[in-house]
């Protein structure tokens, strides 16, 4: 039961991350094709995959995504971590010693 809840939560959090990324892109006035082009992708399909909540922004390219979307890379990575690895985020930023 606990695992089932965790699984559903992981999916839901990734969906929320995708929605957040879509919002950032819209605010930046970019289409999926334009963002993909800024990131150097041949196709724009990966942007869609991530925004639809099925894929993740790879850690290695978080900075490039942040810069393409015109946001601070540290803040960008921190927010994505809160969606992709909520427990790690909690331990790093919310648990007080």
């Amino acid at each position: 039961m606990q695992f089932a809840r965790a699984d559903a939560q992981a999916k839901q959090m990734r969906k929320e991350a995708g929605a957040w990324l879509r919002e950032l892109r819209t605010q930046a006035g970019l289409s999926q094709i334009e963002l993909a082009s800024r990131l150097g992708f041949k196709y724009y399909t990966f942007v869609s995959q991530v925004e639809n909540g099925f894929g993740r922004v790879p850690t290695a390219s978080m900075e490039a995504w942040a810069r393409a979307l015109g946001v601070d890379p540290s803040h960008f990575a921190k927010v994505l971590l809160s969606y992709y690895e909520p427990e790690l985020y909690r331990l790093l930023y919310e648990v007080r010693t």
């Binding site: 999916k11 399909t45 925004e51 894929g55």
Partner: protein, 150 residues
């Protein structure tokens, strides 16, 4: 006699997968789902309405392991990191490639397990050899003396 080249069945620009293609792709994924390498699949669309199929990995993360997109007449397969693994306009090749990529993914996983297993075995062997070597050394020293006593 003049032969008029009628165009083949028109492929819809955007929206949905033709049923035959969809079945082919899902059949290609079924082996991976059955053996647990994938947990299932979902469908979605790009901003422009181009259809996508996402093959999802095992729990707990269900990350996308393969994303199959149809951009007009072009089929694109990417992995979960956006690497393009296949691009072609032949739907028959699409199914073949999907099966091939999934098998390759499984083979890569098996290879990683083998490497880890050999590394573990080597470590265990090193440790046990050290433990076994000591009594063996003791025995080689003691055996002649014991034999002399008999």
């Amino acid at each position: 006699m003049n032969v008029i080249p009628f165009p083949s069945t028109p492929i819809r620009e955007t929206g949905q997968w033709p049923v035959v293609e969809l079945r082919r792709v899902i059949d290609a994924c079924s082996e991976s789902i059955a053996n647990g390498a994938a947990s299932g699949w979902e469908m979605g669309k790009t901003e422009n309405g181009d259809p996508q199929i996402y093959l999802l990995g095992p729990p707990p993360n269900y990350d996308c392991i393969l994303c199959i997109s149809r951009l007009g007449q072009l089929y694109v397969i990417e992995d979960g990191n956006g690497r393009v693994l296949f691009e072609n306009n032949d739907p028959m090749l699409l199914a073949e490639q999907t099966v091939e990529l999934l098998r390759r993914g499984k083979a890569a996983l098996a290879a990683r397990i083998m490497v880890a297993w050999f590394a573990l075995r080597e470590t265990i062997q090193e440790k046990t050899e050290a433990i076994l070597a000591e009594p063996l050394e003791l025995l080689t020293h003691l055996a002649p003396q014991m034999a002399a006593l008999v």
